[in-house]
């Protein structure tokens, strides 16, 4: 087992940190709360024979709604050798407490539950980077859900980001969950491709974000 220190600016460190951030976003995100990678502080790479490459990371996440609110994290990201169908393993710790967003989550929940017609929207943000205030929670929810998709589809030589929500449509449910069907664009930083992706997202204030269905869409799906 060989361990090497990487400069925090190294591409491998950025990719592993982006993956860890996506994973944490999924685990802790909600319509009222989102986390994004702010900075990589330290990175080490461990080559484990027959297993894969494990990155030991120290990084900073920022609150997407309040950029001055940051939190320090550590994570271990293991990319499995050979098996491209298996998502990397991520273990993480967050220093200190995350902001409690129960109120914002409940406000959103009640707002959607009381809509007469199912919510539908397109192009969030729009071409100019605008996100209408009432769409911020929809975006935060997509941010958390895309964290799952990114984690499941990442490899050591990829770096995904949520680029845009092309379409979102609420799906009526008889139970207490909220369900949204999203078509998103993922930007893959190494190939520079913009990839349309479908994801069905379930959420409830007490139950976190679940992606029940997701898949890559063909290019012309956007037309």
């Amino acid at each position: 087992r060989a361990m090497a220190e990487l400069p925090p600016s190294h591409s491998s460190a950025s990719r592993a940190a982006a993956l860890a951030a996506a994973y944490i976003s999924h685990r802790h995100g909600s319509p009222g709360h989102g986390l994004a990678l702010r900075d990589v502080r330290r990175a080490r790479r461990e080559d484990i024979d027959g297993i894969g490459h494990k990155y030991h990371l120290e990084f900073v996440l920022e609150d997407i709604f309040e950029r001055d609110s940051t939190v320090n994290c550590t994570a271990e990201v293991l990319y499995h050798l050979g098996n491209k169908n298996s998502a990397p393993d991520v273990q993480f710790t967050i220093e200190g407490e995350l902001k409690n967003t129960d109120e914002a989550d409940n406000v959103f929940y009640n707002r959607i539950k009381s809509l007469k017609k199912e919510l539908e929207a397109e192009n969030i943000p729009d071409s100019y980077g605008n996100v209408p205030p009432e769409m911020q929670p929809i975006r935060a929810l997509a941010w958390a859900a895309s964290g799952y998709v990114i984690w499941q589809n990442s490899a050591e030589d990829t770096k995904y980001q949520l680029a845009q929500i092309k379409r979102v449509k609420q799906v009526k449910r008889t139970d207490e969950y909220l369900e949204f069907d999203y078509v998103i664009l993922l930007h893959e930083n190494v190939s520079q491709e913009i990839i349309p992706w479908q994801m069905t997202v379930l959420w409830h204030p007490q139950h976190g974000v679940a992606v029940t269905q997701n898949g890559r869409l063909p290019e012309h799906a956007l037309d």
């Binding site: 994004a36 990678l37 980077g129 930007h187």
Partner: protein
């Protein structure tokens, strides 16, 4: 019943498209079903589409500025608006600024470069380009801001530089792609060239330069976002700059600006071999990044292209460096993915301001170390 035919009836078996006013919907459906005529809904609500288009058009400032002082630097502009801005800037500052046409794009658009010069003949020069990848909108917007800033600083912060050097600024380096991001696909990156044998359009202008061309770090697939093109300099947008640089012969610093990722990079991208001037470039990058961060605390990382982002062959600054332009740098501006290419317009000016601080460091250093 007031049916509005968008594709009129031509004959049996031919499709018909019709806009149906709300009160006529039910009667029409009943009629079609009773007669066994199959139909499908193409647009659920035409009014919603029209309303949205109206809103988008109103939101774009239609007002034409009469001077570069009334120009709105805090919003994103179209190609025509940027061209109008350039002409205003030249008209207001004829002794400093001129507009050069260095070539034409695939779709025959002019490729303009602004020249800032206080005189002399073929002085050592600094080159800055923005918008080579059309979807990176904060870069063209920053380029516009830089143009105005240079004029404003000509007797102050930039005086010592402009007394010895010229500055060339190409704001819209990929005009065809830029127009396409406005009219059709906001995420378009490449040029709009069509090379025979493929249905896919466009070449990645940052893989089309003659540096490591054909090697790993670019794609040979025309449908790929990093398609290198059929041969180096196949793209007129790239060839125009290559010709300009070679003919000028006295460019001492070359800065090509992209977004996003918040990085300041130096060559190489196509090989892991370090450039001979690595220590010096690294030190300049370190100082430039420190200056940038001092304004708003924005975090930047720096290093060579290949170690910091990825292997990329046929890249701009690899070529310029190999031409002997020692101070060759690439920026990746804000942000780190929160908005990515869709950076809110409110961040244009802060981004341009902090980037300018870094550019000042590079330009000053170049002027103090002319070679």
């Amino acid at each position: 019943i007031q049916l509005d035919f968008w594709l009129s009836p031509r004959g049996p078996g031919d499709p018909v498209d019709v806009r149906v006013p709300f009160p006529s919907l039910q009667p029409l459906k009943v009629h079609l079903e009773a007669n066994g005529v199959p139909y499908s809904i193409m647009i659920e609500d035409v009014q919603a589409l029209v309303d949205r288009e109206q809103m988008q058009m109103l939101r774009r400032r239609r007002f034409v500025p009469l001077s570069t002082s009334t120009f709105d630097y805090t919003s994103y502009h179209t190609l025509d608006e940027i061209h109008a801005f350039m002409d205003l800037l030249v008209a207001e500052n004829p002794n400093l600024v001129s507009k050069l046409e260095i070539g034409r794009t695939t779709e025959s658009r002019p490729i303009y470069v602004l020249k800032f010069s206080k005189g002399g003949t073929n002085r050592p020069a600094i080159w800055i380009d923005t918008g080579i990848h059309s979807r990176e909108w904060v870069t063209q917007a920053s380029g516009v801001w830089f143009a105005k800033k240079i004029v404003q600083e000509q007797e102050e912060g930039l005086a010592t530089i402009l007394d010895q050097m010229d500055i060339f600024l190409e704001i819209v380096t990929n005009p065809d792609g830029f127009v396409f991001t406005h009219t059709s696909n906001r995420m378009w990156r490449k040029t709009r060239s069509k090379h025979s044998g493929s249905l896919c359009v466009g070449v990645d202008p940052n893989r089309n330069w003659d540096a490591g061309f054909g090697g790993a770090g670019a794609s040979s697939n025309p449908c790929s976002e990093t398609y290198r093109g059929p041969y180096a300099n196949s793209e007129p947008e790239v060839k125009a700059i290559v010709d300009f640089v070679k003919n000028h012969g006295n460019i001492k610093a070359f800065i090509s600006i992209h977004s996003y990722s918040q990085l300041l990079l130096y060559p190489y991208g196509y090989t892991t071999t370090a450039v001979p001037d690595k220590e010096e470039l690294n030190q300049i990058a370190k100082e430039a990044v420190a200056a940038l961060s001092s304004l708003y605390g924005t975090n930047y990382k720096y290093g060579s292209i290949i170690t910091t982002i990825y292997q990329a062959s046929g890249g701009t600054i690899d070529w310029t460096y190999n031409q002997g332009i020692k101070y060759s740098f690439t920026f990746e501006l804000r942000d780190t993915g929160r908005y990515g290419f869709l950076l809110p317009a409110s961040q244009i000016v802060p981004t341009a301001q902090e980037t300018w601080k870094a550019l000042e460091v590079i330009m000053t250093y170049t002027r103090n170390h002319l070679y």
